[in-house]
Amino acid sequence: MTPTPPYSPEVIRQHGLTPDEYARVEALLGRAPTWPELGVFSVMWSEHCAYKSSRVHLRRLPTKGARVIQGPGENAGVVDAGDGWAVVFKMESHNHPSFIEPYQGAATGVGGILRDVFTMGARPIALLNALRFGRPDHPRTPYLVKGVVGGIGGYGNCVGVPTVGGDASFDACYDGNILVNAFALGVARADRIFLGRAEGVGNPVFYVGSKTGRDGIHGATMASEEFGAGSEAKRPTVQVGDPFTEKLLIEASLEVMGADLLAGVQDMGAAGLTSSSCEMASRAGSGLVLDLDRVPMRETGMTPYELLLSESQERMLMVCKRGREDELLAIVRRWDLDVCEVGRVTDSGRFVCRWHGEVVVDVPVGALVDEAPCYDRPRTEPPPPTPLADADLPPMADAGADLRALLATPTIGSKRWIYRQYDHMVQTGTVIRPGAGDAAVVRLPETPRGVAMSVDCNGRYCALDPYAGAGLAVVESALNVACVGARPVAVTDCLNFASPERPAVMGAFAAAIDGIAAACAALETPVVSGNVSLYNETEGRGIHPTPMIGMVGLMDDAAAAVGSAFPAEGLAVVVLGDAPPALGGSAWLGLHGDALRGLPPRLDPDGARKVVDTLLAAHDAGLVESAHDVSEGGLAVALAECTFAHGVGVAADLSAGEGGLPARLFGEAIGTVVVATADRDALLALAQRRGVTAWFVGPTGGDRVVITVDERRVVDASVADLRAAWEGALPAVVAARAPVSGGGA
């Protein structure tokens, strides 16, 4: 039996609504909601759909720029890529599902972000993923790592979109709450972008894709009266990804769009049919009427409530131009997908659903979208980080041993174990593969141009100083993009935080927004899309604030892209930029105890901008043979990393550096770059003209990493030995055997 009002406080709570919010629902409707309506409000007013805690802060992000074609608010952001082309991209989290079922959780995360991109009319050409796992020696970590990587690969490889890069690190704060953030980028003609709008009164609405099952219906229903005891079989189930269907859906959707049959289109993501319909109606200022009984169903006995809330994957809602229905049906059927006309666009401004003719939902769209709660939650200012006294620094016994140990941590170590499982070459466009450069580079089809992408965030910096940490994520990703030779142009983000109901978390969130805003403004990289993931905590233990940044850059000639490793002997290694090395929150500090101390690197947006511009000018002048930014592990780690790919060593003299020995070697000077050049004088002169600090540290060559400071040889290690440590880091983590049947075909 379908529950009817009055609903118990327990049922209302299970729907994620506070008593006040429920009272507003009744006030807006002038009556109690029906059971399906309660479900609809529950998802539309959820944090996920309504951004109720974050909206007031997100407004402070810079979103405009000369290249921006579509900023936040649509399914993905769109940026002009020149010559009539546009790049369309977005990043999204799938943290919680991936913790419950790592393979399927990560796989469906990839599927979801791809739909956000092709729903705009863009063909997906690249995927990235940013992963955060708990301690390497946590008993669940190997299982989660294998499952997540398997799921990302399983989905991306099958749909035929290359996974060209990403980021992965390990920290105890993610023990009970891993992060799986997926990024996708597509290309489209700039004048052929499709929007998620239910336009044109009378236009038919088509459901396209997989049938609807009881997948991922939110937890509230599990305990609700609808499921009596023993109804095991009706339990809401894990969402399973079907990349084969997604591949068909991509082709069918792009073909339908190419034939100009649509007035609007949107994928069914979180909250499925409900949010896709309501958001489309809201954006167009229209209404929708749906006949739920027509929705293709995978299981028997499904109810309107379930159909509205199901998160079955690989489904789209298409508003067809009237008169073109047969063409749409023909295309979709040729791709062997389920398709059905399920409703019409109206001018009522209402979201109406019928079930065998009877109206079961009739709600003003505005009540669901515009009237959704928006909170300026209480927050406390993040405490200023306190500097480390010299006495608090661990002693450094053997710099060479520390370097080797840092390289052997899974956060710094090679990610080859991960990206070897991802098809990073399909579509024959990958110019800089994972591991080869600081950012991935993919050619823009039909042009000589390249698009560069990088995802970054150091959660420890953000924990110590959310403003600086979030800004530094922008700086680091911009530098990564500039290292390969591309101009950073725009940002997508995925803001992973703990509970917004804790003032300290909300304070960090607000500060992080400001840090991102400051860095993006200085770099002229507006935020064009993004995602907020809150409540990342278990048993009151929150993750570090982790505002992941995805930076996209453009370059005129993809063939000019440059890798991060020293390509030859006899080049001059120059460090560009004057960011001071910081040990607060550094990997080196973590090697010797608690890393969550001290001053993290300083955020200097204008300084970073100057380094980016100088680096790009150096690229243009042909002065860059390789470039790699300094990040975790500092300059010593960056130098060592540059030697691995080609086995070309380096002899560096860091006497001109700043600070004590640990700072010089392992201080994390975010905003500096290690450049190898064939023309040292020209590069130094160019930097000087632009007012950017640049210093020559030594030549490339030999098969060792040698670092001297004040005539003392503090590191002298063979490249092969360091590389072995670096390559072994991740395999050692996953060597512990994990359950096999955790998913995967």
């Binding site: 084969f244 499982q421 098809d423 399909v426 075909a745």
Partner: protein, 229 residues
């Protein structure tokens, strides 16, 4: 010269093959769907990589039974050159145009990487004239590339010169450590008894342009072009 690329639902290297043919080689490429009963008078047929039908049963199994395969079989039996790449190789074994089968990689994981290949046989249209002195550097990207054939079949393949490519190290030694998937005898590619049908797990179409970091794959396409012109 006309190349037909056969596309199954879930093929995802079909357009990469088309691109090599038209943008790199400057030849004519036609994409033919799985439902076609005619290949359009090709000179060469390519079965591309990907995940036909999701590879949900066995890789290539469902594609091997698609209607278009009757036309591919006729073309092959008439002596026409057919190259199956990755999933295309799996399709060719599943439909019996090539012996053996491809199973799950020995390491269980998907492997995407560059490998080195020795060219063992030049008696196929895709390897005629391809230098044997040095190994080729070609990418692999598969989950099920472990070549299996029973002892008799294997002996016959070896005896008749039907092993065409073997995984090797950079110096061209077919070392077991250079084997990315546990294939018997490091086999990366084979041909049929007549030599006109070739299947290989590595992807020559992914290394046919300098921009992509290698051009060894182009040698195979140039070879078939040379043979036919």
């Amino acid at each position: 010269m006309r190349f037909t690329v056969v596309s199954f639902p879930g093929s995802n290297c079909d357009h990469d093959c088309v691109r090599v043919v038209d943008a790199v080689l400057g030849e004519q490429a036609t994409l033919v769907r799985h439902t076609a009963d005619d290949l359009g008078r090709p000179d060469v047929v390519l079965l591309p990589g990907g995940f036909s039908y999701g590879d949900y049963l066995r890789c290539g199994a469902i594609a091997a039974r698609a209607p278009v395969m009757a036309a591919v079989r006729r073309f092959a039996e008439g002596g026409g050159p057919v190259l199956g790449i990755c999933n295309g190789f799996q399709v060719l074994t599943e439909c019996g145009l090539l012996p053996g089968a491809l199973g799950r990689n020995a390491g269980l994981d998907f492997v995407c990487d560059d490998v080195w290949l020795t060219v063992e046989g030049q008696a196929t249209p895709f390897t005629r004239g391809v230098p044997r002195e040095r190994p080729l550097r070609v990418p692999v990207a598969h989950h099920d590339g472990c070549y299996f054939a029973d002892d008799d079949t294997l002996a016959r393949l070896e005896g008749e010169g039907q092993v065409i490519f073997r995984y090797a190290d950079a110096a061209g030694r077919p070392d077991p450590t250079a084997n990315p998937n546990g294939s018997r005898a490091n086999i990366a590619g084979i041909c049929n008894a007549a030599g006109n049908v070739v299947g290989m797990m590595p992807h020559p179409e992914r290394c046919a342009e300098p921009l992509l970091g290698g051009v060894d794959g182009r040698l195979l396409f140039d070879a078939v072009r040379g043979v036919l012109s």
